[in-house]
Symmetry: C2
Subunit: 287 residues, 2 copies
Amino acid sequence: MTDTATQPIGIFDSGVGGLTVMRAVIDRLPGENLIYLGDTARVPYGNRGAETVRRYATNAAAFLSSRDIKALVVACNTASAFALETLRQRLSIPVFGVISPVARLAATHSDTGEIAVLGTRGTIRSDAYQQALLNLRPDLNVHPIACPLLVPLAEEGWLDGAVTDQVLARYLQPLASTEVDTVILGCTHYPILRDAIAGATDALPLPKTTLLDSAHATSEAVAEALGEAGILNQASATPGERRFFLTDLPDGFIDTAEQFFGCSLRGDCEHIDITDTTSAAASSTTE
Amino acid sequence: MTDTATQPIGIFDSGVGGLTVMRAVIDRLPGENLIYLGDTARVPYGNRGAETVRRYATNAAAFLSSRDIKALVVACNTASAFALETLRQRLSIPVFGVISPVARLAATHSDTGEIAVLGTRGTIRSDAYQQALLNLRPDLNVHPIACPLLVPLAEEGWLDGAVTDQVLARYLQPLASTEVDTVILGCTHYPILRDAIAGATDALPLPKTTLLDSAHATSEAVAEALGEAGILNQASATPGERRFFLTDLPDGFIDTAEQFFGCSLRGDCEHIDITDTTSAAASSTTE
């Protein structure tokens, strides 16, 4: 184990959805020191242009790099689709996106060769999952479905009930005439809607379907790559240090964030401005 | 009529919802030259903190001021709630928000003295409509309802149907036990859901209710104030010049924008960066 091992892993997302990825990394690698950055002043990235997303992601990566991270996890599908190559060119540390790991898992898993990808309009339009899957297995038949209402439903906390069921039924209807056996939850918000999505796929005349989410697949990819590089923080018997930075922190926001993280964040979130990345620093601690 | 009369009116919103306000201004004052700015790189403002909203609104106002406007319409409820006083202190031209005009109309209109306000979570949390109404008529009983799913439903184009009806029924359910006779559509997106909202209020055991939207009330307030100041562009017999600036312009975006504006925008939208307001200028013309 090198000194690098004790450096933190940086995790960034446009908002709080990436906390589902951070949760998976904690569960898989409890000893790691972690720094989370949510660009909540500019969320959501999903409907923005590619150039804008690259600019925002570069700001975020610069902030995290200034805190001496050993690896960067881009826990945002839109930024993974549009900005990953840019970030890899700029940084000299491993950079992980959320698309490739779950695409690899899905390509291996599917028996029928038919895979559905659910995502925001921006993620689906980027074609990133479709390309990643077809690069791995050119024989696949991929069914991309843009589901722009799922993020607001998750943030509203309407995780089940008639409205959520009907929205899902409408979005998933095109799958009724397919042989899809694998569904990728291509948005970090979707794992908290997993039960409702499973209910909606079960209601369709499909083969037995498996839902795969990027959070778990990504945490496995991080563990494997850092292990191979010999920079896992395995010596520590105690849980790693975890810090949370948000670029905006409106009233009531912590409640939403905790729903994604699965436990308390109170007292742990710092509000920062990353627009000027050369001087990015914590300006205040709130809540 | 002074020279000021021919200067444009600036209209700004976080996104494209403010186009419903621009449409109402065009219908009421067809001869005016208008410049629209949609801060689509940072939309939505609804869930952001007050300080962040003031900073963004100040950027937007600086861009429009640099184009020699004679008046500014803040066609965004969140910015009207949080940033109006800041902008009035900084600018020496008339500044109109979208809250006061419709609040005045509602306070005059209601017979029962019970008024519902529908808005984003940010607008409702700001208490701006509630305060404006009670300042005008302290005897009013105001029922504020946060409806965060209505903007994504409008942007998805799901303007009617089972999902929209059920979302509205759930949001409006608390009104069933009231005597509300006036409903303020406190978000610039909501006018395009007017029919569905009317259906939902009709389904409740309420007195005959009237829906009031800020777009028309604001255009009346602008016409009245500029008329009193003698700076309306009444000499022109031809329609005024209209320009549209957006801080982000992703693929397919114009289609959504046109739904709010009610007619074609193709070829008219310019993409600009207002982060650095000192050098804000059109960088490219797209679509």
